[in-house]
Amino acid sequence: MKIKAQMAMVMNLDKCLACHTCSIPCKNAWTTPAGAEYIWFNNVETKPGIGYPKRWEDQKIWRGGWKLEEGEPKLRSGGKIDRFLKIFGNPILPSIEDYYEPWNYNYKYLTDAPAQKRQPAVGPRSAITGEHMKVEWGPNWEDDLAGANVTGLEDVNFREMQAKAWLQFKTVFMFHLPRICEHCLHPACVASCPSGALYKREEDGIVLADQTRCRSWRMCMSACPYKKVYLNWKTHRSEKCIFCYPRIEAGHPTLCAQTCPGRIRYVGLMLYDADKVKEAASAPSAMDVYDSQLSVFMNPHDPDVLAKASEDGVPDQFLEAAKKSPIYKLVSEWKVALPLHPEFRTLPMVWYVPPLSPLVSGGVTSGDQLDNMRIPVKYLANLLAAGDEKPVRAALSRLLAMRAFMRSQRFAENAALDETGTKSAGQDDFAADLWGSPSAPASDADIAALETVGLSPETARAMYRMLAIARFDERFVVPSSRREFADNVDKLKGEIGYPEALS
């Protein structure tokens, strides 16, 4: 057993409304230089849809991630010898058209145009060539289902479903999927890099591309099933989401997480057994990968685990953070967060709370409430659980039970207040709500309802506090790194970094 710490993120899709606030600070901080215009470390896609780059989830086309061959995980993009012989040209690399050709506008012309009969207008110009161009795709082209009746047909998450029927106006559904690099436990990009430029940080598991060792072989772009490694067309080097490591080291959450107005993002540590990673990635069927990945995570409240972790070099403040980790609660304790496409077998570390959705019209009263939700469970299962509906149903039922319980609590509180006459109904005791503290005792019926989904009133209140209140210091538990061992940063200032950015 070798215990390592891993920085991880959970996004609560129930609350994402695709405002793209996450993408903007990320873009501004990390991918503004020429050559990086088309690169979005963070982008928000609308589902159903094929996303950015086009059809990234379809590994029949892009051959990313791992497949199981004789019980061993093998890169779907090809083994070392195969890739070495094909190093001169990569046939499974998405082209710029699959991402999108970046563009800009000559805004200056709007103010500088000479007096003329008509209002001056500017058209899009390619950020690569500077020429006029036709805009045909983008990092969120299918925003709020735009064109999804056409592109949605190619969405692989409709596997075993009638895509056409689900894309009709009356049945169509929609939710948003913000995406960053998954900082996988078993990263395919790292495994595919011929020059060893991509690596996983020992301390916090952040996957980085070493800019001084990248030789432009571009294997990582193909191997990553999430297509979150990009080639800067000007420097010809790989760039990818760095999980804002300079901020993480200083104890701050990533930019995308901190700026999220909906507070959908959680950042924290997970302890895992590095020796079990390969075994977990080799789970016999795609549907087993979710469970096998869960089995890799270690309980930070177990004193034996903490002792072993300490022995393996995980610093004390990391252990403290792991105990308070929101990720551990959402992923392992409550099991309301699920991995994105576990069948890619990279063991991703950015997980998602599946979205609840309104019941379809018609006042359905019979049957499982989940089957009457606008977003079909099967679709979510294809996205978050390799097609297995069980974990998705479990997560959604818990979210529903928590909602029902808190609503019942709210009514009980108000009723109690009415009787005492201190407050009238409707004037909520907001403070009690905020802290999720039990100001009214839970009724037997409420407790029974919670028990059917495996929750207790305390857990439901804790979930409510984490998911609905989502306080800053509870959603982000980031230990600062050991700066006493750091390089002399003052000396390095202005000396390292992207040369393009310095000039």
Binding site: K80, R215, Y498
Partner: protein, 221 residues
């Protein structure tokens, strides 16, 4: 003239190459890469690049065997001068046009695709033109050459490598070969200033590396 080009010039080129590579590796390690344009114009790259790289690698090894091994040594293993002539000639007749066609495709896509053109630096064109020129002068020898040039040139190259240059050997080789040699050394000198540095980054260590590599942020933590 002969003394300069075949006694002094090769050393100038080799020194530029070695020093240049060292300075570039230390100074701007981030720019040491193959400058792939695979992202733009994929299909034309696949045809041109595979054709060019595979044939040029075979040509490279052909030069290594033909020039660095003394005739006596090859004779000893039963590889006579006439067989050598035949093999080298036929291989060259096939490979020189392949290199030319491959590079032609690469040059054409570089100039015709606006995206590739925008990511091109002048040195990219220079190296393509030089290597095409090499294929022409080398191919000329294969198609029209009458003497086994590899015998004197090989002897001369070995002299250069052991720091005992004999420029007078080169006096009587055909002009095409002289041009081929001079331009060849120019390419060596160009390596540190172009994308050709990727010769020295052939990822052989890949095969020894574990699939998932971990690295520490601070070595002494």
């Amino acid at each position: 003239m002969n003394l300069f080009f075949f006694g002094v010039y090769p050393y100038i080129c080799l020194v530029i190459m070695t020093l240049g590579l060292a300075i570039r590796y230390v100074g701007t390690p981030g720019e040491w890469n193959a400058r792939s344009s695979n992202l733009f114009a994929k299909k034309s790259l696949l045809t041109g690049s595979f054709l060019f790289h595979y044939t040029v690698i075979l040509v490279f090894f052909g030069h290594v065997v033909g020039l660095l091994f003394p005739v006596r040594l090859l004779d000893a293993v039963g590889f006579s001068v006439s067989t050598h002539m035949l093999v080298a000639g036929v291989a060259g007749m096939i490979f020189a046009p392949c290199v030319l066609i491959g590079l032609g495709i690469l040059l054409w896509r570089r100039m015709s695709n606006p995206n590739v053109w925008a990511s091109t630096v002048p040195m990219d064109i220079v190296v393509i033109v030089f290597i095409m020129w090499q294929a022409c002068t080398g191919g000329w020898q294969d198609y029209f050459g009458t003497m086994p040039a590899f015998i004197p040139v090989g002897e001369w190259v070995r002299g250069i490598l052991i720091c005992q240059p004999n420029p007078e050997i080169m006096e009587y080789v055909p002009v095409a070969i002289k041009i081929h040699v001079v331009c060849g050394f120019a390419i060596f000198a160009m390596i540190p200033f172009s994308r050709l540095v990727h010769f020295f980054s052939i990822p052989v260590t890949w095969f020894a590396r574990p699939l998932i590599s971990y690295r520490r942020r601070y070595e002494n933590l």
